[in-house]
């Protein structure tokens, strides 16, 4: 796997672990058009996991072309983040476990109606595993520190 940009593998892993915003995934649709979607993610080292319902169109697109682009970049300044391309595998067995971990990460109130609604559908959830082929990090902290954002 190729790493580009200022961050080491450890710094990228720390960023992925600490970041609680959705990730953008770009796939090819059936006509090979690029198609972006936004999904919650968790990280395992440099691998990334998401989950979606088994009826989601993205799953058939990923079955046809199991390579995606991805990006995780907070809106807050200074701009920083990671992007790359990844090999994708789908797993029904891991779906419920990944959904539970995602709900735990993204929903502060575990007993909310929203988390109950999500978890009620966990048996039909499919896990999407991204194993990056290349990762590029960017961090404009130094450049933007010279200005007045910080």
């Amino acid at each position: 796997m190729k790493l580009h940009g200022p961050w080491s593998s450890e710094e990228i892993q720390r960023f992925l672990k600490e970041t609680t915003i959705p990730m953008q995934i770009a796939v090819n649709d059936t006509n090979t058009n690029p198609l972006l979607i936004s999904l919650w993610f968790i990280s395992d080292g440099l691998s990334l996991w998401c989950a979606t319902q088994n009826s989601a169109k993205i799953l058939s697109h990923l079955q046809s072309h199991p390579v995606c682009g991805f990006q995780i970049s907070p809106e807050t300044m200074p701009y920083r983040g990671v992007r790359g391309q990844a090999k994708v595998t789908l797993s029904d067995d891991d779906g419920p476990r990944i959904l539970e971990t995602l709900v735990d990460k993204y929903i502060a109130e575990q007993e909310s109606d929203f988390s109950r609604w999500l978890l009620a559908r966990k048996d039909t959830e499919i896990a999407i595993k991204l194993e990056p082929l290349k990762i590029t990090s960017w961090d404009y902290s130094a450049r933007m520190k010279k200005n007045s954002w910080e």
Partner: protein, 140 residues
């Protein structure tokens, strides 16, 4: 071109950094963070003509753009379409870059950022429009 509702238009005017997907030479999708501007002139973006995303667009101009609010309830707009160079870009480039820079960076830093674009030409920077084929929204 698809009609954009007022609600979607207002969302696109927020200073949210968008993600642009283009198609690499091998057919795989590539993502990049990018600024955008929505107005009566359309959905405009700019990039260096030497950037990988512009090189991709020159070969295959199909793109997807995701603008999303990272905070709950995770409002988002995803636009699929074709990237085309904006006609009259030579005159439009600096005003549009200045408008975007002020939107994202604020008045003072925006002006500072845009200054470096004053003498740029279409050979250096491509100002392009996404001609919209499809709009997908969430929570809007």
């Amino acid at each position: 071109m698809k009609t954009v509702s007022n609600a979607v238009g207002e969302f696109l005017k927020r200073p949210l950094v968008s993600t642009l997907a283009t198609i690499d030479e091998d057919g795989s999708p590539r993502t990049r963070a990018i600024w955008h501007d929505w107005s009566e002139q359309g959905l405009l973006l700019f990039t260096s003509t030497k950037s990988p995303k512009w090189k991709n667009i020159e070969i295959d101009n199909r793109v997807s753009l995701c603008v999303d609010d990272p905070e709950p309830p995770y409002k988002s707009v995803i636009i699929d379409g074709h990237a085309v160079r904006k006609s009259g870009e030579e005159d439009l480039l600096y005003p549009i870059v200045l408008k975007m820079a002020k939107k994202y960076y604020g008045e003072t830093e925006g002006r500072n950022f845009a200054n470096s674009y004053q003498n740029m030409t279409p050979a250096d920077v491509a100002l392009f429009e996404i001609v919209i084929d499809r709009i997908t929204t969430q929570e809007i």
